[in-house]
């Protein structure tokens, strides 16, 4: 019997998938888009357009600024108004191209038909290059350039490709809708990814709170299996619902029963993890020549005007997205980009969506209020919840006393900032707030030490 979840810690918050039955709908284009050049991990892209240039949807507007970087394409057709900076959702300035929308014309060669293309190009390198040219980045949250992740360093091989369909964050449903509505494309995308890696076993992992998606994908996998090649090695696996199952290390543990060692990468354990929506983006980039310029965004919340999953062009102002889902009711006190556990509170609603924007969660004050902080009652619940096996109560104490050596010995640098500790603590101690600061400090010290050597 295969393992069904990760081995240490985890929590079971109410999954609150309110928008799970809302089909993905394309929203009207905004009057202008603001496409950030720093929407992936790594070096920002360098703009190759100037104000006044006419661009079409799918046209390259910025090139990678380094190996770990990504192409950026225009998501609309229109005129480049400015190449400068705009404020991101936290209100910080980020390099950005502003384009006034005129019509909706796509560049030559993009296949916008719904026809499914199942043939896998024989040459893995060619697939990889198309993924790179398509500006595909990881859509599970980290937005790490996908082509980099698919190029294991020499001497390391991928034994298993894991496609992450857990969507373990409460509320979010864009992955689930994608599996249900674009299941075929996801499976072909999985085969493409698998072929780049040399056809390893590929597991599409889905939490068992999405039984329809699991059944749907299983049907497709069975249907496509006779095509052979990478299709023969795809399996859909149901995992027990537990947060943070979609965390890369937790997922590898759940699926392969291997713990990625501290400080190592998934590939060191023989695994490559990609998100469901990334598999879709890979399909579109490789089979349809369509770069990553749109993604599905869940707009949800108990106090939201309506529950929606929207297909949004990259660079659309958040305010426009929310307006398309009925606007912002007065009762909403907080807007979170991402899920409730790891998402970021939005400061600036005029900020644009990014490739990795998966959801906007609207919360009322009562929902998001934290109780008054009490003293630690040493109940150990934070340690039981921590998926990395850390002792948050101890890290909290050490961090408040600035004891960096002991923090490092207690592995503060392993924290994945999942929030389980803070979520659980009965005394409402802001554990993660404090641990996150301490982790950054200790990582800085570790880096400085490595540089000094």
């Amino acid at each position: 019997m295969a393992r069904r979840t990760f081995s240490i810690g985890g929590i079971h918050p109410d999954d609150a998938k309110l928008s799970r039955n809302a089909a993905i709908e394309a929203i009207p284009l905004p009057s202008a888009v603001y496409i950030s050049l720093a929407q992936h991990i790594g070096a920002p892209a360098k703009a190759v357009v100037a104000p006044g240039d006419k661009v079409k949807a799918g046209q390259v507007i910025a090139e990678p600024g380094g190996f770990v970087s990504a192409f950026i394409h225009s998501s609309v057709s229109g005129t480049v108004k400015s190449v400068g900076v705009c404020k991101d959702l936290s209100g910080k300035a980020a390099p950005c191209v502003e384009i006034t929308v005129e019509g909706d014309e796509w560049v030559e060669g993009v296949d916008l038909t719904p026809d499914l293309v199942t043939d896998i190009p024989a040459d893995g390198k060619a697939i990889l290059e198309k993924i790179r040219l398509g500006g595909v980045v990881g859509l599970g949250g980290a937005t790490f350039p996908t082509h980099v992740k698919l190029s294991p360093p020499p001497g390391k091989t991928c034994e298993m490709l894991i496609i992450n369909g857990c969507e373990c964050e409460p509320y979010l449903t864009s992955d689930e809708r994608t599996m249900l509505e674009k299941g075929e494309q996801v499976v072909v995308g999985t085969a493409l990814l698998s072929h780049v890696l040399g056809d390893p076993h590929a597991v599409i992992a889905v939490e068992d709170n999405k039984p329809e998606a699991i059944a749907h994908l299983r049907g497709i996998v069975e249907r496509l299996r006779p095509l052979g090649g990478p299709y023969a090695g795809i399996e859909v696996r149901s995992l027990m619902k537990k947060y943070p199952e979609g965390g890369e290390k937790q997922l590898i543990d759940a699926v392969m029963g291997r713990q990625v060692k501290s400080g190592q990468l998934p590939i060191d354990a023989g695994a490559v993890v990609q998100n469901i929506c990334t598999a879709l983006a890979v399909y579109e980039a490789v089979q349809k020549n369509k770069p990553l310029v749109e993604n599905s965004v869940t707009v949800t919340g108990k106090g939201a005007a309506r529950q929606a999953n929207l297909l949004v062009r990259v660079g659309t102002p958040l305010r426009h997205v929310i307006d398309c889902a009925g606007g912002l009711p007065d009762s909403i006190a907080k807007v979170v980009s991402g899920g409730p556990m790891m998402g970021k509170a939005v400061v600036n609603l005029d900020a644009p969506t990014l490739k990795g924007t998966g959801g906007l969660l609207l919360l009322t004050e009562a929902e998001t209020r934290r109780g008054a902080e009490g003293s630690c009652i040493r109940c150990g619940k934070c340690a039981d919840a921590c998926p990395m096996g850390l002792e948050p109560f101890l890290l909290n104490r050490l961090a408040r006393a600035d004891r960096n050596d002991e923090l490092e010995a207690a592995s503060v640098q392993d924290c994945i900032q999942c929030g389980c500790c803070l979520y659980t603590c009965p005394a409402n101690i802001p554990l993660l707030d404090i641990i996150a600061v301490a982790k950054a400090r200790v990582l800085g010290i570790i880096k400085a030490r490595a540089a000094a050597k």
Binding site: I8, I11, P13, K249, D253, Q259, V260, K261, S262, Q264, L328, A333, K334, V335, V336, P340, M341, M342, G343, K344, A345, V346, V347, L349, L361, L363, E365, E367, T368, R370, G371, G374, S375, I377, R378, C379, G380, K381, A383, C386, P387, M388, G389, L390, E391, F393, L394, S411, D414, Q417, G419, L422, Y423, T424, P426, A427, N428, P430, L432, A436
Partner: protein
């Protein structure tokens, strides 16, 4: 610009709170409290009332006037201490002795360390031990169960006390058991003498089960205490049944169950890790029996818990949870 709340993730919190946990402990203690009132009548109620009221009031006054902080009695931890202290005293304890116990428990064992979460020793146990040393005669004599409306108080020594005295006079354990007419059925369902909370083992176990099912506590500390007591006393009893009491007797007397289920499992004064908890439990079980068999006090649970409380900081350094991805 919209006025949006901006704060770090996570943006939701579980409904678990300190107050909720303490409320669960109070609920778990309810069966033992109810049984003590049914068996001992108004005197049990009096001890309980004085104990809880003193603990809560003392914490309130200390926090307000000595520490000058906002009140903490709302977290219900003082109430829990009050109930536990009451259950650990014989119902014949005079009210002023109960008050002194509460004063020591809350005023000394809890608040001087900084209040909830900072104390090294379990406050209720500390209060009880303080009384045991200061007023031994009130603490080792018991009143026979006389029911809610009973009148005549019959008093005598607790079973462990009687056995200790008897052994010193040269009697053997089986003789003493027969002489007092104690049966295990009595021990399980109704009191054979002791403090209020020991009136019925089943009531205590019921509360323990509630705490485990509600995931307020993990069962390992309690189980390791019970297993240690059972195994070690089995060994001694096997060697010499005339001198040493048997496992079941040891499990069912002298506040062992109450201590193992409710006092040793106190979050604040027990180890953080499961492995540390098991070692802590073994320590408590072993020390308890050594005191009972070879010490000068008839029972040893309270002392054993206090001694192991003191070892907790060390256990927390020695035992940690297993970390992810580190050998």
């Amino acid at each position: 610009m919209d006025k949006l709340i901006v704060s770090p993730s996570p943006h939701l919190h579980s409904s678990c709170s300190t107050k909720g946990l303490m409320r669960d402990v109070l609920i778990a203690l309810a069966p033992a409290v109810a049984v003590s009132i049914v068996f001992y009548g108004w005197r049990a109620l009096l001890v309980l009332g004085v104990s809880v009221a003193s603990c809560v009031l003392l914490e309130y006054l200390i926090v307000k006037y000595l520490l000058r902080k906002s009140t903490t009695v709302g977290d219900l931890s003082a109430a829990v201490t009050g109930v536990l202290l009451a259950l650990n005293l014989p119902v014949t304890t005079p009210w002023w002795v109960v008050f002194l116990g509460a004063l020591f428990a809350v005023g000394v064992a809890k608040m001087t360390f900084g209040g909830l979460g900072q104390n090294v020793f379990n406050p209720a146990i500390a209060g009880r031990v303080f009384l045991l040393i200061s007023f031994p005669s009130y603490m080792t004599h018991w009143e026979a169960p006389q029911g809610l409306f009973g009148v005549d108080a019959v008093s005598g020594a607790t079973p462990l006390g009687a056995i200790k005295e008897g052994l010193m006079q040269g009697a053997s354990v089986p003789d003493l058991m027969a002489q007092h007419g104690w049966t295990y059925g009595q021990m399980l369902f109704s009191n054979i003498g002791g403090s209020a909370g020991e009136a019925c083992a089943i009531a205590i176990l019921l509360g323990f089960l509630y705490l485990v099912v509600r995931r307020v506590i993990k069962p390992w500390i309690t189980l390791s205490i019970l297993a240690t007591v059972a195994l070690v006393s089995l060994l001694f009893w096997g060697i010499d049944p005339a001198r040493f009491t048997d496992p079941l007797f040891n499990l069912l007397t002298g506040g062992l169950l109450l201590g193992a289920c409710f006092m040793a499992t106190d979050y604040v004064t027990s180890p953080m890790s499961t492995a540390g908890g098991v070692v802590y439990g073994i320590g408590i079980g072993f020390i308890t029996l050594m005191i009972r068999y070879f010490g000068s006090y008839p029972e040893g649970m309270s002392f054993a818990i206090l001694i192991m409380n003191a070892a907790v900081p060390l256990l927390n350094i020695w035992f940690h949870q297993k970390k992810f991805g580190r050998a």
